[in-house]
């Protein structure tokens, strides 16, 4: 039996060798960090490395420290609330925009508008941050110049934390709506035309056709994409927050998320114990959520689950 395994492997040695580069890369950049999660229980000493450092005494000291921090709690709350906001608004926009585009009869117009709305997907959040600055800056931002021209008070966006959940939602929608629409539009165009023909013979209005044919047909896609997004609810898009908000600490009450909190603890304040404890909890909750949402997606549609 054991001989058989070795013979099989030896027979396929070229194949194994061909897989080796990816295997090594994934090991270094994915598996080692997984093992490195133990750092949350260690008193990290840079000269000894992750695995050589002493265990924390008491073992959960990093977590005690984390749980007593208001900033950490705020980051968790912001991550979940903002993600719920992004997922909900995103769903409405993407499905809505796909339905609208699907109604357009003019092929040329459809293609041009799809190209334009897909364009923001191709630029980095850094560039989006510059765009936002053009609009929102207190002195030269276009919005404040507009407000001034109609005689209103300018708004100092970069110190108004309360406005940023809205601003960030708009930014995400601006960047990702065209991209997200593609999948829904693909699902819509794959609906058999005879459904609509039969409905219109029965006198259904266009609106009724959307309500009773298009939307039910989109349901599996909607559910699965939403489930997968919920699986990532503990993970914020670091790039967006760092590029849009950056070091504007006045905005942190509504925009500081787990990922930016961990980054700051790691790179700025050098508080590796707290950063690793927060990261450990984030990873653990993410494990559970990913598995649960995948399980649910699999129940609904076998092909669309990741595993």
């Amino acid at each position: 039996m054991k001989n058989g395994v070795i013979r099989e492997l030896f027979k396929n040695r070229t194949l194994l060798l061909m897989f080796l580069p990816v295997a090594v890369l994934l090991f270094l950049f994915n598996y080692l960090p997984l093992a490195g999660l133990v750092i949350a229980f260690k008193d990290f000493d840079f000269t000894k490395g992750i695995f050589g450092s002493n265990w924390m005494n008491p073992l959960l000291d990093n977590f005690d420290y984390l749980f007593s921090s208001d900033t950490a709690f705020r980051a968790v709350r912001n991550t979940i609330l903002l993600n719920v906001l992004f997922i909900t608004v995103g769903l409405i926009f993407e499905v809505g925009f796909a339905l609208l585009l699907n109604e357009v009869r003019n092929k040329y117009f459809k293609r041009v508008s799809q190209s334009l709305t897909f364009l923001p997907f191709f630029i980095s959040w850094i560039v989006v941050g510059v765009f936002a600055y053009n609009l929102l800056d207190f002195e030269s931002g276009a919005i404040n110049h507009f407000l001034a021209s109609i005689g209103l008070q300018p708004i100092d966006f970069y110190s108004e934390a309360g406005l940023w959940p809205i601003i960030l939602t708009i930014a995400v929608r601006w960047k990702a709506t065209g991209y997200g629409t593609i999948i829904y539009l693909a699902a819509l165009t794959s609906i058999d035309n005879s459904y609509y023909e039969a409905a219109s013979i029965d006198g259904a209005t266009r609106w009724q056709q959307i309500r009773y044919i298009s939307l039910p047909m989109l349901r599996p896609t909607i559910i699965i994409l939403t489930l997968l997004a919920v699986g990532r609810i503990m993970n914020a898009d670091f790039g967006m927050f760092y590029a849009m908000v950056g070091d504007a600490s006045l905005l942190f009450p509504t925009t500081d998320v787990i990922d930016t909190f961990v980054y700051r603890s790691l790179r700025k304040s050098g508080d590796i114990g707290m950063a690793s404890a927060a990261g450990f909890l984030q990873s653990m909750i993410a494990f559970v959520l990913v598995i649960a949402s995948n399980y649910a997606a699999r129940k609904i549609d076998k092909d669309s689950a990741i595993f």
């Binding site: 890369l25 270094l28 598996y31 357009v104 053009n134 276009a142 590796i272 690793s276 990741i306």
Partner: protein, 294 residues
């Protein structure tokens, strides 16, 4: 009556879509306009869709004033080209092994890859391993290696390769070709559509990446373009310390900091916007494949 009703809702739909489409385009026009504006106009009128007085000073200062922009451009191009070629080669080679039906243990390899999509060690251990164990700090490899192997792309390629009939492998084997030769000479050319799509996605993420630079690159001369843009946005003063400061002074007594930021933004997104019309459909195709089979 009915025809009129339809045309009203049709035009309403067209208006909504047009407004949103234009709002996607406006910021691009605004940076281009800002980069061509004089500093005075930006201060007086704010950012607008059309420059009041057209000037190319900011571009002249940008390229004259700092070798760093040329350097950063070079680094971004190098990282994008090298990273894309290596990534496509390594991931497609791995995907080929996972797709090889005659290989008994291919599913174990697939599980090995899937696990990386599900479980994530997070930033802290990842960072420490890259810096402490792999010594990637201030190295160009830091901008390439961490993104090289991508599980999602591997499955995209593997699924495509599944559609290539296994008989091709068998007959090539009869002719005495080894596995690597079969992959390189037969399977790779046959997989060109999916490799092109994956390659474009990879190239885009390398070009747009600044996170790896932020984490690992402290040396200024190794900064990629996107990171330089961020540095410039938060601090335009560094241009003054460059060796060509006096030449810049001749163009403009005061550095037009706002329009320079805009010029660098235009330069950063230039290649993407330029290539966009040609490559867009491959991305759409890739997304569809990912949506159906991901």
């Amino acid at each position: 009556m009915l025809a009129k009703k339809i045309s009203i809702s049709q035009s309403l739909i067209i208006i909504i879509i047009s407004l949103f489409s234009l709002s996607c385009l406006f910021p691009f026009i605004m940076v281009i306009s800002g980069s061509l504006s004089t500093e005075k106009d930006i201060i007086n009128y704010g950012y607008s869709l059309w420059p009041h007085h057209v000037t190319f000073d900011s571009y002249r200062i940008l390229f004259l004033g700092s070798n760093r922009i040329i350097d950063a451009y070079g680094i971004s191009i190098l990282v994008t080209v090298a990273g894309t070629i290596m990534s496509v080669f390594v991931t497609s080679m791995g995907a080929y092994v996972m797709a090889r039906r005659s290989f008994k243990y291919r599913n174990i390899l697939s599980v090995y890859v899937i696990i990386t999509m599900l479980f994530n060690g997070g930033l802290v251990p990842w960072y420490i391993i890259c810096v402490h164990y792999l010594d990637l700090k201030d190295s160009l490899w830091a901008l390439i290696l961490p993104m090289l192997a991508n599980a999602f792309n591997m499955f995209l390629i593997r699924n495509f390769m599944h559609s290539i009939p296994e008989e091709i492998n068998e007959s090539a084997k009869m002719d005495g070709a080894g596995e690597f030769k079969i992959f390189y000479k037969l399977i790779m050319p046959l997989s060109l559509p999916v490799l092109a799509t994956v390659g474009l996605f990879v190239a885009l993420s390398y070009w747009n990446d600044w996170f790896l630079g932020l984490m690992f690159i402290d040396k200024q001369e190794l900064q990629p373009l996107q990171l330089l843009l961020r540095t410039l946005v938060s601090n335009v003063e560094f241009l003054k310390s460059s060796s060509n400061a006096s030449a810049m002074q001749r163009i403009s007594a005061q550095i037009p900091s706002e329009s320079i930021k805009m010029a660098l933004t235009v330069v950063t997104i230039g290649p993407i916007v330029f290539l966009y019309p040609f490559v867009q459909r491959y991305f759409v195709k890739g997304l569809m494949v990912g949506a159906v089979k991901g």
